[in-house]
Symmetry: C2
Subunit: 120 residues, 2 copies
């Protein structure tokens, strides 16, 4: 599968709510996940660490709605937009946010995911 | 200047319409520019080739409006969104389009720009 085929299959699974299955199928064993924030979760390496971060996020946010747009593809990378309406359990304050995911593909797997959203 | 400072200065210049000056100030001599299309302009290397592509684009599009949003920063990269209302001179058909620019910074300069937009 080339980048476009992987991007389309991956995003179809996300749009169907199958984020766990999409990660299991497409994340490379040595995937690197980069958040735009300091702290423990800024860089996660490997499927187990990335799954732990994802599990934490889903456990700590109440999701009212989530939409995924894309993919937009260029070379070995594709970009997706996520529109989220969530209440973080830490704050209890419902918020609407837009986030972009940039995915890098190598040998049929996602080797890097990098997220973009407003930061301080 | 770190990535955030460069991203902010660069985007402020774009928002002020100073795209030529922004490129002159921030593009690295060996910048690589990647379009999501086949053909001669898919990869441009170096400031002269990148400027020639930019000059071609501005010469061949009538711009009714252009908005730049961002930057969203993560590590050595930043993402911008461009909302364009243009008429390509080749087609004469006015169109509204959204495009994303992903910029990679090294040693205070932009070493890669990669554009994302809908493709066939």
């Amino acid at each position: 599968m080339d980048t476009a085929a992987i991007a389309k299959a991956f995003t179809a699974m996300l749009k169907a709510g199958q984020h766990i299955e999409a990660a299991e199928r497409f994340n490379a064993p040595d995937i690197v996940s980069l958040e735009a924030m300091p702290g423990d979760m800024a860089i996660c390496r490997g499927t187990a660490a990335v799954k732990a971060k994802s599990d934490w996020w889903y456990a700590n946010h109440e999701i009212h709605s989530a939409e995924s747009d894309g993919p937009l593809i260029n070379g070995d990378q594709f970009l997706m937009r996520f529109s989220l309406d969530v209440t973080p359990k830490m704050t209890g304050q419902r918020m609407q946010m837009e986030e972009f995911g940039l995915y890098t593909v190598r040998d049929g797997r996602i080797v890097e995911e990098r997220f973009f959203y407003p930061t301080a």
